[in-house]
């Protein structure tokens, strides 16, 4: 941690790095376009017909975002945008590549999904631009702390509202709105709730940190300060029980504990958090068959009735069959996972099988790099609200990445969440573009040169004023 950008207050004069960003963006567009060509050559031996259009589309999105960042957030982090474009572009190629498999692209399964995903990506980029254009300073969000709370809670319970909520594959996390289509409100809630946590904790952190009794070397919080953590715990448990959404509840609770710890600098909060999540996990795993089943499959991925290979086993076979270097784009068999899952929840299986261990590690490292830039932004932010918000957004992104990738790879039980940018799903890609925009806004503020100190009068030469 020796980089100069770690200091809370930069001394000014940091290069804006916009040209670096432009150069990276060229690669971020070029790599998916070449991957697109690769799929076409592998599948039909010719360049795919839509290649020019696809390349132009992606290039255009990247170009516009770059120009807006250059104009309205000139000191923003130069790496986040190229990584987001690259991941989004790769995701589009992977979905388009899976669209080439007739068995998982039947009309009953919704047909080809890449065109819609491109559309949603464009909407996501539009939201990204809107955030940068209209949110001149992230601190404005602080004013909406409690409104954020209400909005977040509303978004979280939306899938439970009869009429619009839908249950898919045992999890009730979808909402269908007439005219718009279906979306996952939790994807948006995660951003709004980070805003609420940041605003709330900024105000309450001293009370939470200082008013506590020391018992056995741990600082125990007062009962009234314990209230909010129990409320959040209760809400995440309810999400788990009523929506059977393991991922989202883990995400919310985890982010809250992390932000609480950062705000108060009290290790005891982590201990509390871990105890409460362990209790919740045991409770739910023993009472909910859906979650229990997931845990079983996680522990024994290759156990199934003879002849009925489970989805989990198919995913493990995909990764194993990829080996070190993979089968090459377009030449794997992740379609054996069946349904639309290979395009959404299990998109990493296609990365693993077709790009191999090498490609999978590269993609994981892209996420790691993005997360690292997020933490850097949090460290560099000058105001506590900005620090907490950047921290919260990055933690959301990091936890979601871990929960999805860990679930697909078998590090933890599988939960129904989408890999940010890579996986098929409109809500996810839109929400994540907004998340990146917020981080860029905070990092622009953080890295902006401090205003030049007011010139000291003493240093000036005495001037004679003649009337």
């Amino acid at each position: 941690m020796s980089s100069t950008s770690n200091t809370t207050v930069s001394t000014g004069g940091l290069p804006s790095r916009r040209n670096t960003e432009l150069a990276m963006l060229v690669f971020a567009v070029l790599v998916p376009v070449l991957a697109y060509a690769n799929v076409g050559l592998a599948k039909d031996g010719s360049l795919p017909a839509g290649m020019a259009g696809y390349g132009l589309g992606l290039g255009l999105l990247a170009g516009v975002t770059h120009l807006v960042v250059r104009r309205w957030a000139p000191y923003a982090d130069p790496l986040m945008l190229p990584i987001a474009v690259l991941l989004n572009g790769l995701g589009l190629v992977l979905i388009w590549r899976l669209d080439q498999e007739p068995t998982i692209t039947t009309p009953a399964l919704g047909g080809p999904m890449a065109p819609n995903q491109l559309l949603w990506s464009a909407v996501g980029v539009a939201l990204f631009l809107a955030v940068l254009l209209f949110l001149k300073d992230h601190r404005i969000l602080q004013r909406y702390t409690y409104i954020s709370m209400v909005v977040a809670l509303f978004l979280l319970v939306m899938p439970l509202i009869p009429g619009i909520g839908r249950q898919v594959n045992g999890a009730r996390i979808w909402v269908s709105l007439p005219g718009i289509g279906s979306l996952q409100p939790a994807e948006f809630a995660k951003i709004v709730i980070a805003v609420f946590f940041a605003g709330y904790l900024m105000v309450k952190r001293d009370a939470l940190a200082l008013a506590s009794r020391r018992v056995l070397g741990l600082y125990l919080p007062r009962g009234r300060d314990l209230g909010p953590i129990l409320v959040i715990w209760g809400i995440s448990l309810m999400i788990l029980v009523f929506e059977t959404d393991l991922g989202t509840s883990l995400l919310f609770f985890g982010v809250f504990v992390i932000m609480l710890y950062v705000a108060t600098e009290r290790t005891s909060w982590i201990v509390f958090g871990l105890l409460l999540s362990a209790g919740g996990a045991v409770f739910v795993a023993s009472f909910n068959s859906h979650v229990g089943e997931r845990v079983d499959q996680w522990l024994n991925p290759l156990e199934y009735e003879p002849g009925y290979v489970t989805e989990t086993a198919q995913v493990v076979f995909s990764f194993g069959s990829g080996g070190l270097l993979g089968s090459g784009l377009g030449q794997g068999y992740t379609r054996l996972i069946q349904g639309i899952a290979p395009k959404s929840d299990y998109i990493l299986a296609t990365v693993g099988e077709e790009l191999g261990l090498a490609g999978l590690m590269a993609v994981i490292l892209l996420y790691a790099l993005l997360i690292e830039r997020g933490f850097r932004t949090a460290l560099a932010a000058r105001d506590p609200f900005g620090k907490l918000l950047a921290m919260g957004l990055t933690a959301v992104f990091a936890l979601q990445t871990f929960v999805v990738a860990g679930g697909v790879l078998g590090v933890i039980p599988l939960t129904g969440m989408t890999m940010p940018f890579l996986a098929q799903g409109g809500s996810s890609v839109i929400a994540n573009w907004a998340l990146i925009a917020l981080l860029l806004r905070i990092s622009d503020t953080a890295r902006r040169p401090a205003p030049a100190p007011a010139p000291s009068l003493d240093a000036e030469e005495t001037q004679v004023v003649r009337a």
């Binding site: 290759l302 493990v316 261990l357 994981i364 078998g410």
Partner: protein
């Protein structure tokens, strides 16, 4: 706030490390096991992604590959004359695995064999698809056709070998089936119709190699060889000391009778073989003793467990350790000793080849797609069950069987020395079911025998008293030998 932030960042770093470690575990450490897992459909997809190599008989492929519309399996196996060759090729099915030569030589036919690595690498560099190698067999189309046509609708089997080399010339098992009908991915109905529980004929059973039968009187050749080799009888024309009827030792007067009693008392081996005297061979087997009988049977190829492979695994023919009465009855092939048709062909072949049993085989060579011969079979002696003198005495006795016995007219071939032995093996409790008709024989040309054959016919649709080796089995053996002799000229 920076200190806890750094800690959180380190924690997230650890999460990423966990992901990377797990990815390495699954995709590197476990990769091999997962890639070849029996439920990983990629294994099958890869198998049928390229045309298989062919199995070749007399220079002509008897198999082929055809492209299909199936999403998973691009190529399907075809067979030019499936029913004729099913006992040789077995099947290669997209669903039900592969058997017989298709199974044993699978790696070579798909091109996965290590010996094709160089060929595959060249193909990969020149952008060609992987190709499988060809399996060239020793079989003889005319002999196979004669065998299958001879068996007709009956259940039965024929095995014919070249005694000089051990090369298998015919290998028929009826009723047969067409492996083309179960080659695809959608052939469940045809498959179910072939299953033993739905089809008493059990067509996929290769009776020539995988079914064992009581050998009946054909086993008397083995007993005669044991008696001669062990000095119990001096030569085939010396009188034996064998009463008729023969009382089984260690029993309360259980007797062995003959169908044709006239000349059997104290008969010479030659007469005992011509008239098929059970009493003589029961007495000789008892005199030789169980241990020596086992030794002789094993030198003919019995009791080898799973070791006899041609390269298809051959079911074990057994001559077990047993008490005296059982051992005596085994001497005329009517006890717990059992044999495959191939085993009995090997018995005839070792007599014909002057006492030397050549290792049976049916794959002459493996040929890579670039026509390089990857493996060439060299004939090898498997054992010497008897001396040259014993073999020649048995030849003369077996030739007398054909000249003077009831099978004569059916088996004899003009201008060729033919030796044979009939057999009618009882089966069922107290002989309640129709017996098995056996015939083993060889033909001699210029003191060399180009063919030895064993035929077994299970209950054919004929009257019981017509079921005899000479009536049913001998004509088939004749046709097979004739076909081999004709194609040699």
């Amino acid at each position: 706030m920076n200190k806890p932030m750094r800690r959180v960042a380190v924690f997230c770093g650890l999460l990423i490390v966990a992901l990377l470690a797990r990815a390495n575990w699954v995709q590197f450490v476990q990769a091999d096991e997962l890639q070849n897992h029996s439920d990983n459909r990629r294994v099958l997809i890869e198998r049928f992604a390229h045309p298989r190599g062919d199995i070749i008989v007399d220079g002509e492929p008897i198999t082929g590959s055809t492209e299909t519309d199936d999403t998973d399996f691009r190529y399907k196996r075809t067979y030019t004359d499936g029913e004729l060759w099913a006992s040789v090729t077995g099947f290669s099915s997209q669903v039900y695995g592969s058997t017989m030569l298709e199974g044993v030589e699978d790696d070579f036919l798909t091109g996965d064999d290590d010996r094709l690595f160089f060929n595959n690498t060249i193909d990969m560099l020149t952008g060609e698809d992987q190709r499988g190698g060809n399996v060239v067999t020793t079989l003889n189309t005319a002999a196979q056709r004669a065998a299958v046509e001879g068996l007709g609708d009956a259940r039965g089997a024929v095995a014919a070998i070249d005694p000089r080399t051990g090369a298998i010339l015919a290998l028929a098992s009826t009723p047969s089936y067409d492996p083309s009908t179960i080659a695809g991915s959608n052939d469940g109905e045809a498959w179910n119709a072939l299953l033993r529980e739905n089809n008493p004929d059990d067509p996929t059973l290769n009776r020539a190699l995988r079914a064992t039968y009581p050998p009946g009187s054909t086993f008397k050749i083995v007993t005669a060889a044991a008696a001669l080799e062990n000095g119990v009888v001096d030569d085939v024309d010396t009188e034996t000391d064998t009463p008729t009827p023969y009382d089984l030792p260690d029993t309360n007067g259980e007797r062995v009778d003959n169908q044709l009693d006239g000349r059997c008392e104290n008969a010479t081996l030659r007469v005992a073989l011509i008239d098929s005297c059970n009493t003589v061979f029961a007495a000789l087997s008892d005199e030789v003793g169980n241990e020596e009988m086992i030794d002789t049977a094993e030198s003919f190829g019995y009791n080898q467990g799973q070791d006899l492979q041609v390269p298809i695994r051959v079911e074990e023919s057994v001559y077990p350790e047993d008490n005296r009465p059982q051992n005596a009855q085994a001497g005329f092939g009517q006890a717990s000793n059992r044999a495959t048709p191939l085993q009995m062909a090997m018995v005839a072949a070792s007599v014909a080849n002057n006492g030397s049993l050549m290792e049976p085989y049916m794959v002459d060579r493996l040929v890579a797609p670039n026509l390089n011969v990857v493996e060439q079979h060299e004939p090898e002696e498997m054992s010497r069950p008897m001396s040259r003198e014993t073999a020649q005495q048995l030849q003369s006795a077996m030739e007398s069987v054909v000249e003077e016995g009831p099978s004569g007219p059916a088996a004899a071939i003009d201008g060729v020395r033919v030796g044979g032995k009939t057999g009618t093996a009882q089966r069922g409790e107290n002989n309640s079911e129709n017996p098995y008709a056996w015939f083993i024989s060889y033909a001699m040309l210029d003191d060399e025998s180009p063919v030895a054959v064993a035929v077994v016919v299970e209950d054919a649709e004929v009257e019981r008293n017509e079921i005899s080796g000479s009536g049913l089995a001998a004509p088939i053996a004749h046709d097979v030998m004739q076909a081999v002799l004709d194609s040699a000229n």
